[in-house]
Structure formats: C-alpha cells, structure tokens
Amino acid sequence: MVSDAASSSTPTHQDLQSVAIRFCGDSGDGMQFAGTEFTNTSVMFGNEVVTFPDYPAEIRAPLGTTYGVSGFQIQFSSSEIYTPGDNVQVLIAMNPAGLKVNIEDVEPGGIVIVNKDAFTPGNVKKAGYTDNPLKDGSLAHYHVCKVPVTRLTKESLVDSGMGGKAIGQAKNMFMLGLVYWLYDRSLEQTIRALTEFFGEKKKKPRVAEMNVAALKAGYFFGETAELFPVRYRVSRAKQEPGTYRKIAGNQATALGLITAAQLAKKPLFYGSYPITPASDILHALSTYKHFGVKTVQLEDEIAAMCSLIGASFAGDIAVTATSGPGMALKTEAIGLGVIMELPMVIVNVQRAGPSTGLPTKTEQSDLLQAVHGRNAETPLIVLAARGPGDCFTTAIESVRLALKYMTPVVMLTDGYIANGAGPWRIPDPADLLPIEVAHPTERNHEIDGKPVYAPYLRDEHLARPWALPGTPGLEHRIGGLEKMDVSGDVSYDAENHQHMVDARAAKIAKAADDFPPIELNGRDTGDVLLVGWGGTFGAIYTAAQRLVDEGHRVTSIHLRHLNPLPNGLGDILRGFKKVVVPELNRGQLRMLLRAEYLVDAIGINKVQGRPFLVSELVDRVKEILSED
C-alpha cells in the first residue's frame, strides 16, 4: 500500500509494547543526529531503549551511493528490551540508497517514510535501482508514505532568511518532527538540544531557530496531512526507581574510569592514540580536566602503552583505550607491564578485522589476542562489558582488579556497545565501594639484617607492593629482565625464573576468587546452555528468554570474566546436554572453554560486522536442540 502525502484519514491512537525504527540516508543527512535525538526523547519519556548506530568509514562518502548510507536504529519499549530489534517496524529513508540498503530489514506491513523529493532519476540510478521503487510496485508489502520533505522544509523556512544549503540541512529535523508526531512525543528535548548545540555552543542562534522551525513544521505536517491511519503510543517502561540518563558505551567507560580513580583517591592518567571506535573515550575524558584527569594524545599506540608504564610506576591510575590494530602494537609493552607487575587498564573497543578490516563495524575477534597475544608467558586479567551501561561497572572493576593484583587488565568492549546507548540509572556515589590502595613508605624487608625495600615481596594475594618515586629510602629499579623473587634484582637463575613465571600465573589465577558467582538466566540443568560474553548479551539473553517461553529447556549465562575464567563454570557447563557459544568471531571463547573444561561446546558464529539478530540465535538453537 502506497499512500501519498495528499491522501488522508483520521488517526486514532494505538498502544504498542515496543517499536524498532531506523533512520537512514546519506552520511551528510544528519541521521545520527536525528536518531540520537529520538533516543534522547524516548529515554527521557521513560522508555527502555537500545540503539544501534551504523555509519560508513568515509567521513562524507559521495552523495547518493549505497556505501555512503548512514543508519541509526532504535528500539524503544514499555518493557525490558536488550537489543535494537532484529527487524524494524518503521524505516525513515531520506534517499533511494538508504531505501535500497535497508528495506529488507523492514517487517512486512511496516511503515516506510521516504523523502519523495530525493527520488530523482539520478539518485535512483546512483542507488543501483533500475526503476524508481516508489513507482514500480516493489514496495507493495509496506505502508509507504512519500513525503516531499525537501520541498516542505524549504517552504516552511522560506522566511527564515537562511541560505538554501542551510535549509537543506534541516530536512532531518522536519522528518524527525513528523516521526515525533506519529509516536506522540514531545518536541521539548530536541528543541532544547538544538538551542544548546547551535545556539549556545556554535554561536549560531539563527541556525538553531531554523532547525526548531523545521522540527515543528514536520510535527504539524503530521497533524494536518493526516498521512497515517493511526498514531502509536509506547508507554513508559517500569524501571527501577532512580534518576536516569542516557549513556553510550564509550561514555560509560570514561565515567567508570573517572569514578574508579576517585574511589581510589588517585589521579587518572589516560595515554592514548586516536582510533575508531575507541577515540570517543579520549574525547570524553579530555573534558574532565577538573577531575584531575590527564589525557595525553601520544604519537602512536606503542608510546601510549609505554606512557602507562611510566605513569603507573609514578603512581597514577594508568589507562589507555584502542582497537585491534592499536592493540597489536601495544602487546610488547603490555608484556613489560606484566613482568613489572604494575597496575594499568587497557580498553580494547573491538572492531571488525583483520588488519584495518571494516573499521566502523563491530566484531568480537580480539579475545584470543587479549588472552594469548603476547610473547612468552604473560598472564593478565581479561574482562568484557556486556552493554553500554555495563561499561561503567566493568571499567570500575578493571581498575579495582588492576590495583589489587598489581597487574595490567584488558577490558574488552566493541563498536556495537561503544556507540550504542541506553538509559542508565545513576548510582549513588555513597553506594560505591572505595578502592583501597596502599603505597609503602617504609622499607618492607631485611637482607643480612639491613632494612631494604623489596619490590617483589608479595602479599596474600601474591601482589607486590607499589612504592612511589619521591618516597625517601625506597629507591628501586625494575624493568623487563626477569627479576629475583623478593629483591627484584635482575636474575638469570633457572629456578627463580620458574618460580616467577609460576607466581605471576598463580596471582592471576587467584583473582578468580574475587569474582562474583556466575548468574544463571534460567535453571541450572537443561538441554542447552548458551554461554556468551561481551556485547552480544542482549541478543543471547533475549533469545534464551524466547526459547524458554517457547518451552525449551534453555539457560544462558554471560561471562564478564574471561581470564581467569570464573570459579564454578565447569560445573555449570556440565549441567547441560549441550553447550552453545554464540560469538561474533569464529569461536574464540569456545576454544578457551573446550581447552579448559573439555566440553564439546558448539559455536554459533557470525563475522559480518554486525550484531546477532535474536531470530538467528533462536533458529540455530532450535536446530541444535533437534539434532540427535
């Protein structure tokens, strides 16, 4: 059914539990902004929200081409949701290329709103269509609204006194206004955002006004054009009481790191080199100088990693973030951190590889690199965050473990959760446990009756003491050569080497005693246990729920701790007929579980630069259930 903007009917209200909507268009069309604003409005309204921004690697890819399409998907709901939705019910396409790339993901009968003006023969061809899809009947299964957005925006702004280019850039706001009308949303949040961004930050109040005008025009157009038979309402979700804000993964990581530093009462040093999708952590942290945060952009990832060695030695909470190729460059210096036994956190916001790969797409393929990717025996702690808000918690835990065990900790996130955003319940600072750090001020040992500082005298957690330069009497020198137990002197002794290699491994292994027990989503026995880690949490959790709802004996667990693996995991695995490990790689956690527990874990693997769809998991698990 294709309704023209001119056709009309009287809209009524319909209540929905959740809606997935995708904005798409050229990368210059402001789709990320529109999507973000829709998200903000939804979270502030009180919906559960999960987002999935997806944009091309080019800054501004050539107009109208399919590879230049930028998309932003949001699922908002009145109940708990964990994914942006497999398919969407609504597609907003600003041009033919956007339509082309995204139409397959719209549910049959879904709403497709297009900017009719953009469907010129030239654009249609550029998108790779032979015929205009608005006319050839190929969209018969959808409710298509063809809105002349370009023309309407122009007309509505004719008195703004702004140039054609600026007006053209307000199309996204017109479209957003229309969508707000459709979902009965207030414009307030976006008007405030436009005023702040263009008016106050960019000092262009007229641009702000114009965008607000376009937004309103879109909204009013919805009201008057009577394009849709119904308007939809997605009511507030029941959420835990508290104050909320929206947060994206990278932002949550930044906040978590600052929080950890404050809990430890120590300065945060962040040394890094820009790389997509990790750079936003740098951007965020660099605005927090009033928290004493030092952000240093170094010449490369090697220097960044090495700066952590120095900063940690000198007493800061030392952190860096990077992505695959940068991680590769850091591995030598991480090894130095391991043998020096200095606390530091390395965040890897994973992206699709190998090599430069698909730099703006997500993947989970750096797990084995995190666990094994260094020369020699260099055990360290590896954690992974499961979602945007969880980055906050994982960052704090990473710092806590690094300090307690005097070790580098690798924290894995990925492009999907780093850029994705959701509501986050603001914690009460008083509820956060302080992080204890002690720096010796006295010599801690005796050799031949003389008091000395022994930098490798371990405590009950096998951690060594952390004496800081500037402390009189504790002068000591350490580095990358194997060191004598206790004294820290250089040692080539064979037995001592064995002892130190074993001690470093034992220390990391012991850290598992600190991990909270594994939470089961479901019963502790059954036919299938789904084991996930990282940013696939939402899809796996939702898939497991759905399978249980359909009567299958399925449970899921999601591991935050990947090295060492948490205590009790083996027992849990043995409670199920089959262990299934869904991952956005070729089976990396699977290989670790197989090696450790000798379980014949089965993988569900996808390496397409995109997250799992819930349906993919559900279908595949059903197949597995029905095998044998």
Binding site: R245, G271, G310
Partner: protein, 340 residues
C-alpha cells in the same frame, strides 16, 4: 631560599650496590661516574630522580644508580618517561639511551618527546654500533662500515643526532665525549646545564665501545687530535679552536660556515656563539670531522614552557572554571530524568 636543609651527597651515595656489568674499558663507566658527580652536586634529594632507559648496553645505566629507575623496552624510554613526567611534576626525569635504542627503533618517541618539550634530560650514548647485540651497525655508523650485519660495508647514510633533534624543535642540544684526554672535558658542564634545563635537554655523548667499535671517537678524545677536531662552544664566546687556538668559525655572506685564521679577523669581529639561534645551531651540527671541527658543549638552548607545565595549567584552569569535580556532578551531567 628554602630553610629546610637538603641532604648533601657524595657521588658514592648514588651507587646502587649492583655490580656494574659493562665490558672492561667501556666508555659507559666514565659517563656513570660523571653523572654521579653531577647528581651529588645538586640540591635534589635522590628519591626525586627517576632514570628511565630502553634496551642496550647503555640502557643498563639505571641499575647502577641508587635512584628510582625503569629499565624499559627497546626504544621506548622517552615514551615511558613521558608517563612518569605527566604523573608527577615533582620528579626529575632522566632518560638514558643508545644510538640504536634512541635513534633506530626509538626515533619516533625521541622526536615527539622533543617537540613536546617534555621535561626530561635525554643522554644518548652514541658508540655508533649496537653493543648489546654484539656489533651490528647503527643509524650513526659511518657509511661503508663493516660490521656483523654489513660484511661488505653499510650502505646507509648515518643520521646526525644533534641536527636531527634541532629539526624536531629541541630546546636544548649539547654534545660531549665520554672522556677527554686532549681538550676540555665538557661532560660535567654539559650534564649540569642539561640538569638545570626545563624542557627536553638532549645530550649526545660520544662513547667508546671497547669491544665492537673501539677508537671510533679517538679523534675527539685523544691528546694528539682533540684540539684540532673539536671546538668548545660557549654562549657569547667566539668559536676558537686548534692546537694553538689560532682557528675560528665564521659565517660568510651567503650564510655558510667557514674556518678562518684568528689572525685574519679583528677580535671584536669574531663571530660569537649564540645559544638561542636555531639556524646557527643547525649549521654547527653540520660540521663533521674530518672537514670541520665538531662542536662540543651547549649548542642550543632556549626557554619554552614545558608540556607538563601546560598540562597542569589546564587542569588548574578547568578546576577554577568548573570547580573540583565530584562524582555527583559527573553522574548527573546532561539530561536526566527520574523514575519514581
């Protein structure tokens, strides 16, 4: 100024007690002795020093000093030192590196530490060879040099360290030899000047590798030749050198360096050293043995804000503007809403 009495040290107070493991006759011994002397002569308590090195014979240096120290990984000392520097502005950071460590694998960190004017003293022990790995050529090895990895002679053009760092924007550039059996031993003077410089102080030290490149710098250190092959540069003083102090450096109309006879120029017309002239300094660094005498001493020095000064200034400015951050502020930034 301060009334707190500072410790007074003897050079031996800076010995770490570790056995020194360089080859007998290695030039590193003389440098170690000179550094200990300079440290002992200064007002800085020894716990404030952090010596950072990479990997190489030279990079074993920190083990032998009773200060804080990091023996890092190959080439990365300036980057490690950057972390120390930014973490704690009260420390004094020294970097010890070799011609391979600092200019081959570590050239990039050298360049960036220098251009950022990261406050640290960098002592580059130039022995024109890879000592620790037993004698391959280094980026400062002369062309055609036969070494383990270049049995037919090296075909690389060597880098000229002081010219290189001037091109990187160095604020302090100096040169000395490990020992001097001929002219003036400028090492103590240079080390002291470096210690007192705020910003990156780069010091190239010609160092004899007794085992793999013996006598590489004898032209500059031995009695017979030192006075003819080196010129001791001092701010405001003419560039006089030669066994009879009869030669001087001048600049011709086109801006090029010339060696003149002192007698041919009236004393007040003699060109004098201007530490603050980068282009002049660059010219000086282009003077190479055997065509020219090589400059020793402080070749260039200017005063510029250091990286960490600016870093702390921003932190303080931010704190003044926004107030010291609290977790409450941090969490509740931007738009929030309440669920009851």
């Amino acid at each position: 100024m301060s009334s707190i009495s500072l410790p007074t040290y003897k050079p031996a107070d800076f010995a770490s007690g570790q056995d020194v493991r360089w080859c007998p006759g290695c030039g590193d011994y003389a440098i170690l002795a000179a550094v200990k002397k300079v440290l002992a002569s200064r007002d800085v308590p020894k716990e404030k020093y952090v010596f950072v090195s990479g990997i190489g014979c030279s990079s074993r240096f920190p083990y032998y000093l009773d200060t804080y120290g990091i023996h890092g990984i190959h080439g990365r000392a300036p980057a490690i030192a950057t972390g120390v520097r930014c973490a704690n502005p009260d420390l004094e950071v020294w970097v010890i590196t070799g011609d391979g460590d600092g200019l081959s694998i570590g050239g990039n960190h050298m360049m960036h530490a220098i251009r950022r004017n990261m406050d640290m003293k960098i002592l580059l022990f130039n022995n024109r060879i890879y000592g620790l790995t037993k004698g391959q050529y280094s980026p400062t090895s002369e062309q055609h040099k036969k070494t383990k990895s270049t049995p037919m002679g090296s075909i690389d053009t060597p880098i000229q360290p002081t010219g290189f760092v001037l091109g990187c924007g160095a604020t302090f550039v100096a040169r000395a030899t490990d020992v001097n059996r001929g002219g003036v031993n400028v090492l103590p003077e240079v080390l002291l000047a470096a210690a007192d410089h705020r910003g990156t102080a780069f010091v190239e030290i010609y160092q004899d590798c007794n085992v793999f490149n013996h006598r590489a710098f004898f032209y500059a250190t031995e009695k017979e030749t030192a006075k003819e092959t080196t010129v001791h540069v001092k701010h405001g003083k003419p560039y006089i050198f030669g066994n009879n102090n009869d030669k001087a450096i001048a600049i011709n109309r086109c801006g090029a360096i010339e060696v003149v006879n002192v007698r041919d120029v009236s004393p007040d017309e003699l060109l004098v050293h201007d530490e603050a002239d980068r282009c002049r300094a660059f010219m000086l660094t282009q003077m190479r043995y055997p065509e020219y005498p090589e400059p020793m001493g402080v070749i260039y020095r200017e005063s510029q804000p250091t990286y960490h000064d600016l870093l702390w200034a921003q932190i303080n400015e931010a704190k003044e503007e926004h107030g010291e951050g609290t977790l409450e502020d941090l969490f509740s930034e931007g738009s929030t809403w309440v669920v009851e």
